[in-house]
């Protein structure tokens, strides 16, 4: 028997990168908020620089609610589906921001207008067959103040490239116009980064240090990065990495208007007869609770946002909450980050004490920053040369055909070369397609008996063509920096599960093609807001978190300004 709790103004489902940010503008406006989080608080004491625990054994992701509901995946509706054992995201107050790479990119202005800009520059025939991509309901300029707000509120380090129209060649000359500089200078470069940047300039490209949600120097009450080398899948023992758990949530708690409930597994969203959300149901251990609220903000990850909606069927929503238009789960895609290129250099690159957010970026081939007239794709990729190395993974690295993978010969190889290899990270424009979608798996269930999500998604010709083109650029760059061996991975096929999962509850003005309106509230249930990359209709070539947080702040601010019309019902 579920316990019905006293009502609240707003209940937020998930206190990660999105929900953990949304709470602050709400409580600052006097709104009472309950935040439900499936994980718990973790602290600096949990963040040992321990490769076996963090990377080999996937802690803390391995002990998570998310792992009980791992989606199945398949490339196409005709192919068999598979279910792995680990979920790409974790549950905790702060969510995956505890251990993520913390790259803090804004989208490029083109990413908001893919359809109209492609049509204008190259003709509508250049839009890939089968894509369901739309222009966003607003442009980059609409989101710029919110990007700025997050960069200063939470703290981003970086080098601006275009402040109010003044191009600064030290930064990204292709970025959208920004109102002001970053609040902190970029993370430092190593000698290898300088070499890569020099080589890029020799090629006529425009290298620059990438932005990070990591302090390059003390910011507020948090310390600057200490570059210990365990940032990737590890938490920060000095809180230099910025997440809601160290910034917006503590500030919100100080107001006394935020209540955080940990270990809360949300299992349902309730609706009244008009389709408005009345609150959520959750379990802690074996106890079930009903939390009534005037407004529900759904802020779990893309996969769980979609699953919770699809599971919440009722007479008013027979196919899932806010899904009478059949759009929940559609327009899904995940960033094509695969098709890697790696290289071996004839010198040590001294990458032991780095982090994935520290490095050299090239955006000359991202988005529509270059002429696609004679190419067979639209969009492009961000080239990223970072520092990230730990001993077990270094010892497991490729020998580039120069030695076997064990024995004395391997030992000699690895003694010389453990610190001489480099792997690139290339994020590529990925589009939504008619045949890529999320729905409930007909067979697999979580321990509570609810179906898990099923991901049906495959990279299509446009993504593979970008991958091929970007591998050529990356190889060019490595060779120009002195690489003696370069190897390439395959171009990709099934999307699999991703930390960059987009769509499923897309934002747009047309209710027949989108789940939420331009403010992030459901077309069918105006007091249900949805936060996260599930509302994004395009990916660009850069990490989504900063855009997610900018959108989140904008949605929360809209709620504050329109409280009576949204919450009043």
């Amino acid at each position: 028997m579920a316990t019905r709790l006293p009502g609240t103004d707003v209940v937020v489902v998930g206190l990660g990168a999105a929900g953990g940010v949304a709470v602050l503008p709400l409580v600052d406006a006097g709104i009472e908020v309950i935040g439900l989080e499936a994980g718990t608080w973790l602290t600096r004491r949990d963040f040992a620089p321990d490769e076996i625990r963090n990377n080999v054994r996937d802690w803390p992701m391995a002990v998570q609610k998310a792992n009980l509901e791992v989606p199945t995946t398949r490339a196409t509706p005709d192919s068999p589906s598979f279910r792995g054992s680990s979920h790409p995201m974790m549950n905790a107050v702060g969510g995956t921001t505890l251990h993520y790479w913390a790259q803090a990119w804004r989208l490029n202005p083109w990413d908001f207008k893919v359809v109209s800009e492609t049509t204008r520059r190259y003709g509508s025939s250049r839009l890939p067959a089968g894509t369901t991509v739309e222009d966003w309901p607003f442009d980059y300029d609409e989101l710029e103040p919110y990007y700025d707000r997050i960069e200063y509120e939470i703290g981003v380090s970086g080098q601006a490239g275009n402040v109010a129209g003044n191009v600064d060649e030290r930064g990204n000359r292709f970025e959208g116009l920004r109102a002001r500089e970053y609040p902190m200078p970029p993370l430092r470069w190593t000698g290898f980064h300088e070499r890569m940047a020099d080589a890029a300039r020799d090629l006529g490209w425009h290298p620059f240090p990438g932005p990070a949600l990591i302090n390059s120097q003390a910011y507020g009450d948090r310390a600057g990065c200490v570059y210990h080398g365990f940032c990737n899948s590890g938490g920060c023992h000095v809180d230099a990495k910025a997440g809601p758990h160290t910034t917006t949530i503590p500030r919100a708690l100080e107001t006394g208007r935020l209540t955080v409930i940990t270990r809360a597994h949300v299992i349902g969203i309730d609706a009244d007869r008009s389709g408005r959300a009345t609150g959520v149901r959750y379990v802690v251990g074996s106890e079930e609770f009903i939390q009534p609220a005037q407004v529900v903000l759904l802020a779990s990850y893309t996969y769980e946002n979609v699953r919770l909606l699809r599971l919440a069927s009722s007479h008013v929503y027979p196919n899932g909450f806010a899904n009478n238009g059949g759009q929940v789960g559609r327009h899904y895609f995940s960033h094509h980050q695969g098709a890697p290129v790696s290289a071996l250099f004839p010198f040590d690159i001294s990458a032991w004490y780095g982090l994935p957010a520290q490095g050299v970026a090239v955006d000359d081939f991202a988005d529509d920053n270059f002429d696609h007239s004679s190419l067979d794709f639209i969009g492009g990729g961000n080239l990223w040369a970072m520092s990230d190395r730990r001993p077990i993974s270094a010892a497991n690295g490729s020998t580039f055909g120069r030695a076997p993978s064990w024995g004395s010969e391997w030992k000699r190889y690895i003694h010389e070369n453990a610190d001489r290899s480099h792997g690139s990270y290339i994020q590529k424009t990925t589009l939504p397609y008619e045949t890529n979608y999320l729905d409930l798996d007909p067979v697999e269930r979580d321990p509570l008996g609810f179906p898990v999500l099923r991901v049906t998604a495959q990279y299509k010709q446009n993504e593979l063509a970008i991958a091929d083109f970007m591998q050529d650029r990356m190889e060019e760059w490595y060779r120009a920096t002195g690489a003696t061996e370069v190897s390439r991975g395959g171009l990709g096929n099934a999307m699999g599960l991703s930390t960059h999962a987009f769509g499923g509850t897309r934002m747009g003005d047309d209710p027949s093609a989108n789940v939420v309106d331009r403010w992030g509230f459901a077309h069918e249930a105006p007091n249900l807001g949805i936060l996260g990359a599930s509302v994004m209709g395009t990916s660009g070539a850069h990490n989504p978190t900063l855009t997610v947080q900018a959108l989140t702040w904008r949605t929360a601010e809209h709620l504050v300004k329109n409280w009576s019309s949204i919450a009043g019902g």
Binding site: T40, W41, L42, R44, R45, D46, F47, A48, P49, D50, E51, I52, R53, V56, R57, W59, P60, A62, V63, V93, R188, T190, G191, V226, Y227, H228, G229, H237, V238, T262, R263, D348, S350, W352, Y353, P391, I392, A394, A395, N396, S405, W406, G407, S408, W410, K411, R412, I414, H415, A418, D419
Partner: protein, 249 residues
């Protein structure tokens, strides 16, 4: 580095794992203490040191494996990362100790797989080479490992639980963890693994000046476990995937 800073978890674990006599002989302090050698070239290039490791008697205290299983695994590890003129290998690093302990904890789910596949390995060696693995010449041992790695031993009727390549990958993966992981888990004794890679060790912070020293080949190796730092919670390191972590909140 001061001697008291060397009194570490990893040292205590080492003592537990390989016996006091062995540990005293292979601890880094006895080999290169105060030698202030640069990170490059690594300490492991000293052939004298390699001999001293090889000569160490290593009384074992097994927690999970049988003595026969441990002998076979150590023989495999000795071929995967051999002690040679470049320095000590996986056996000297205590990779077996790492695996033995993990099979009672995080890797408990793989304990049975080890037993079944080690038995299959000996059946395969007997039928194809005429003797169990530990009694084969190193040349034959290597050729058997190549059979395993390539999967050609799978259909031999020896009884591998899956592909012999999977078993090989499992043993290799755990050997690498025992060789190159944090010594807190019972392997990487004397930081042998990190020296082989010329990895200058776990640090809580690396200044710009440290990075420049590293790039100049002048950064002295740190020799400690992450858990030598009092600030880190050790309990979380030993949790099993299935058990669930209980954090104070």
């Amino acid at each position: 580095m001061a001697e008291d800073q060397r009194r570490t978890i990893s040292r205590r674990d080492l003592l537990k794992g390989v016996g006091a006599a062995g540990a005293a002989a292979i601890l880094p302090g006895k080999v290169d203490e105060g030698s202030a050698q640069p990170a490059s070239p690594g300490a492991g290039t000293d052939p004298g040191r390699a001999r001293s490791f090889a000569e160490v008697p290593r009384p074992r205290r097994l927690e999970n494996l049988t003595a026969d299983e441990a002998d076979t695994l150590e023989a495999i590890m000795a071929r995967l990362i051999p002690a040679d003129d470049l320095g000590p290998g996986a056996v000297e690093a205590g990779a077996l100790n790492y695996l033995d302990r993990a099979l009672g904890g995080f890797l408990a789910g793989e304990r049975e797989e080890y037993g079944l596949n080690l038995a299959a390995l000996d059946r395969y060696c007997l039928s194809s080479r005429g003797a169990p693995f530990v009694e084969l010449s190193t040349t034959d041992q290597d050729s058997v490992l190549i059979d395993l790695e390539g999967g050609s031993a799978t259909g031999s009727g020896a009884g591998f639980t899956g592909s012999s390549a999977s078993f090989f990958a499992m043993v290799k993966g755990h050997t690498w963890q025992g060789m190159f992981g944090d010594p807190y888990y019972g392997g990487n004794a004397g930081f042998i693994g990190w020296d082989l890679l010329r990895y200058p060790g776990v640090r809580l912070g690396v200044s710009a000046a440290d990075q420049q020293r590293l790039e100049a080949g002048e950064l002295l190796p740190e020799r400690r476990s992450a858990y030598d730092s009092e600030m880190f919670e050790k309990a979380t390191a030993m949790q099993r995937a299935q058990g669930g972590v209980e954090h104070g909140d």
